[in-house]
Structure formats: C-alpha cells, structure tokens
Symmetry: C2
Subunit: 318 residues, 2 copies
C-alpha cells in the first residue's frame, strides 16, 4: 500500500472476580509497570473481538472467562502509551484500544494461581466507603482538591463528584471522579502524561499521589469498568455472574457492598431481593456463620432471562 500508518487494535480486559473479601482484578506486567491484561487484535485470526479477548486472557494467564461485555473504545492520541508487550508496533502506528469487562465467578483455587490478582481499591482508595477507614482516603485528598478548586465551577464539580455539601455520593460516577483527580493532578498518570507531552519534564512536583498508578491509560479504563459494573448491577442481574452458585443472602450483600463500595441496610436488602424473584432458596443451610445458620440461595430461572432486572440498593445510614 502506501505510507499510511497502520492502525493497531489493542484489546484490554478488566477481569473481575469475587474472592472472599471483595472484587479482585486480574493484572499483568512487572512490578512498576502493572497493567490490565492486554493483547492485540489479529484481523485475520479473530472473527470477533470477544473471542479474541477470551483467547488472549486465557493464553496469557490460563484463566477462562465467563461473562464478557464490551466497555468502550479508547482512541485519543496522547493518553494511550505504547505498552511493552503489545507486539510489533512502532511509533508510527496508531493504537486504538477496545476495553472489555469480564466477570468470573468466585475464584476456584486452582485458577487463582494463574495470574496476579489484586483488590481493585488499591487503585481507587476513595471509592471504598464501606468503613470509616475507607472514608479517610477522601479526607486525605480534600486539601489538594480544595487547592485545585479555585473557581466556583470547579468547586461545584468537586461537590457533585464526591458527594459534598449535601450532594449525594453516586457510586457509579467512578470515571467522573477519576477524571477530576487527573485534571487536578492528584493521580500520577497526569504528571506522567504532562511530562511526556512537554518533552523531558521538570521534576515531578513533590506530592502524594492518590492510589496506585497503572500503565498507559489502564486506570482510566478500569474506572470506566467500575462505573459500568456499579451501574449495571441495578438493572441487570450481573451480580450472579460474580457470585458463587450457592450463597447466603449475607454473602451476596457483602459482595454487592464490596463492588459498590457502600454499606447497605441488611433487612431491606433481603426484602427487595426476595421480592424481586431473582433468587430462590435451595433447601440447604450454611452453618459456619457464627450465629444462626443461614439459608443458601441460588439465582432463579427468571434471573437468567434476557431482560431480567437488577438489584435495588437500599443504602444504610451513616
């Protein structure tokens, strides 16, 4: 052909699984350059993106995916950064990356070893509001946020994003919050991208960045994924693609709470869940609770139908 630069399609996957404690992510890369599992799309070999994603995640990590859904296609010049193991790309190529979310139900021990898993709140400490300890992350960055919010427009954005001044916290606005922190220079990626575009930069301002960074724009992709999952849990029964086959209602609630980063009102959670018809009790009981034994439930047949709705999230008081 001609000198037209090639377009390379990269695929990145946010692979989420529920461990006992909460949502965990499958990561790849080496210490200091951690990122999402990433592969490039082969226009000949792969018939669909989804098959390609399943393929490279399995071959890179040995982990087989369950539910898979396309997230977003990132094509901005400037925020992507070439990733080492991406294959034979050159500077002249344009990399477009299609992000996917994949859910894997509770990790089987054998599979667990097949990759590096990490609690996703390592990268977004301010997103975990289940405990006062988690809330502290937000307090810690407030001074810097306030310093940045010099105009009323910015102040109002901060208030909306972080649920300040009477605004309510919206658990699914993960991307808004991340982008705001990026603009405010509170996440390390912001400094890195600026340095890159300015040539070799002035020394990084001495500042405590919030959360651990990821390679390229992977933390942004991850924020998009978290937001999408948290929103989707309300209108599609995807939570069951993450939960084990049989679970107690408390286990399910813990999982939802971990995913959404908020505490729910226990009795009301049960009530809406039972009323929704999404779960049905197996006869069996689960005894290792420390208190009264709990009934084990499974997802119902109706929860599998296309168009089944999701969970309501009855927030608990402060």
């Amino acid at each position: 052909m001609n000198a037209t630069p090639r377009v390379i399609i990269g695929l990145s996957a946010v692979v989420v699984a529920a461990s006992g404690k909460g949502p965990e992510l499958l990561l790849s890369g080496s210490p200091g350059a951690i990122g999402l599992p990433f592969g490039s799309f082969d226009p000949i070999g792969h018939r669909t993106f989804e098959l390609a994603v399943r393929d490279f995640v399995t071959s890179q990590t040995g982990f087989a995916l369950g539910y898979v859904e396309q997230l977003y296609t990132f094509g901005d010049k400037g925020r992507e950064a070439p990733v080492a193991d991406m294959g034979q790309s050159s500077d002249a190529d344009r990399v477009v990356s299609v992000g996917y979310i994949a859910l894997a139900s509770s990790i089987v021990e054998g599979q667990r070893r097949a990759g590096v898993w990490a609690d996703w709140y390592r990268f977004f400490p301010w997103e975990d509001r289940r405990s006062t300890a988690g809330m502290r992350a937000l307090d810690l960055m407030m001074p810097d946020l306030n310093a940045w919010a010099t105009t009323t427009e910015r102040q109002s954005r901060v208030a909306m994003a972080f649920g300040l001044h009477g605004q309510s916290w919206q658990e699914s606005q993960v991307l808004d919050r991340f982008e705001l922190l990026y603009e405010a220079g509170l996440v390390q990626e912001a400094q890195r991208d600026r340095a890159k575009s300015k040539g070799s930069a002035a020394p990084a301002p001495e500042r405590a960045y919030v959360g651990e960074p990821l390679v390229s724009d992977h933390r942004r992709i991850l924020a998009t994924a978290m937001g999408r999952l948290r929103a989707k849990i309300r209108y599609r029964p995807i939570i069951f693609d993450l939960a084990p086959v049989r679970f107690t209602l408390s286990e399910l609630q813990d999982l939802v709470e971990a995913l959404c980063g908020v505490k729910l009102h226990k009795q009301n959670f049960r009530r809406t869940l039972e009323r929704s018809g999404l779960v049905e009790s197996t006869g069996a009981m689960h005894g290792e609770t420390g208190g009264r034994p709990a009934m084990l439930f499974t997802r119902s047949a109706t929860s599998r139908q296309a168009g089944a709705s999701g969970l309501s999230l009855p927030l608990a008081k402060r």
Copy 2:
C-alpha cells in the same frame, strides 16, 4: 511492513434531531442503499474519534453536531458489509466500525435542508406504541414470530422481548427485539447476510419483511442507539440536548413519548418533572395551543451539572 491486512476504522453516526413530529435521523446514501452517515477514521489527521465524527458528518451533510457519545464498536466478521463510499478499502482489509450517537436540538430550518432526514420508526415500526395504529405493526408480525417460536425457550424469549403474556414492554430493549427478528428471519438483513455467506443464494423466501432495511449492519447500530437513548433518558438529562431551548411541558412530553414510543400520564409527568428541578419556568407563555396557554420552560442550571439525573417515565394506562 508485511502482508498483514490493514485494519480500517469506520465511523458511523446515528444523528438524531427532534422535528415537530418526533425523532428524526440523518441518513445518507442513494435510494435502495440508505445508511447512516459513515466515514473512515484517519489515523494521522484525527486526534480523537469524536472530532473525526463531527468532522465527517459536517463535511458530508453540512450539519453541525451537538452532544456526541460513543455507542459501541462493531467488529464481527460477517455482519459488516463494505459500504460503497467508504473510501479506498479493499477486500483484504478488516473493517471495524465505531458507532456514535449524536443529538442535535430541534432542527433549524436552514440546516434541515442539508441532509436527508427520516422518522426512525420507518425502520422499526414495532417500536412505536403510542397509538393503536402503531401497535398494529406488532400484531402483523405475530404470526411469523409464533411460527418461529417452536421451542419453549424461543417462546419465552419472544414473550420477554415483546412484552407478551403479562410481561411488561421494556422500551429500551430495542436491540433484543431486533436481534430476535433477525434470527427469526423477519428482517431483510437476515436474508441478505445468509445469501452472502452461502454464496449466491436460493431465491429470497417470499415474505413481508418488517421495517425498511439499511445498508450493512446499520439497522443494528441504530437499534443499539435507540435502546441506549431510551435507557439514558431515565438517568441523564439528555432529553434537553434534543429539545428546543424553550418548550412547554406538553412539548417536552411529546418528545419523550416519541423517543420512547410510549404514552405517558400527563399529570404525573408534570409532577415528577417539576419536582426534579430539571426545568424552570421562563416567565413567557405559549399561546398557540388551542386551549389554555402553556408556560414556557427551560432546562435549569442544575440539569447541566455532571451527574444530574434524568426523567422518570410515568406510563399511561392502555
């Protein structure tokens, strides 16, 4: 490089504007081969997809876009079909198309001439349930649907998708319905794609296809867009990107109804809308109503804030 086929990124845009009657689409192509505005992405010239979309829609149709949002990236081999005006692609290339939704507020007359606009229900007659006339479209295809639904699994899918047997109609499941009709062979694209993959096909079965077809997989992209818009209207105030600057509540309701294809309860619509704080009354009145003059409203400042919520849709009874 080598003989690797190029990847071509196509961009297609579902451009929606509200005319007096309802949502209209910007189309391009010649009679018999109508499709969405479509352009290819230039890896050198375009910094972001969004800019590229704005660019080619404007240059193809002279129409300037307002709100723009990425929809989905379609990359399946087999359902895309080369589009004539796509540029210098060859058979060996792999076309990946990124779909966008764009909203343009009520059409200015001068701009209107700049492209071909059509009521989107031409392509999805069954999606308009505002009148009994619209409902007839569904009745007409029921025999064929029933003929296809040979298994209980299929029957249940039909019932869920089309709100039969006590199931409720979900206005945003446009894609589910379209895909089901595609599988059932009721839309012309299904026949066309089968013919293509089987080589020169048997003569098309004599059957009345439902809705007008579009080039390539553009009707599928459109279904995705409609579903997304209908869903999004509930949790983001995007309706105001479609409505004129000043409107009466009835006009706004008509617009929402046209978009969602359902009738709403008028008094309750007003109530939730006023309570939501998304609109505020300008002092002015609008007299040409035929009845009592109506107050003119505008979107409020809070409706512009990131994170503002959308409308509730109080359905009217049968």
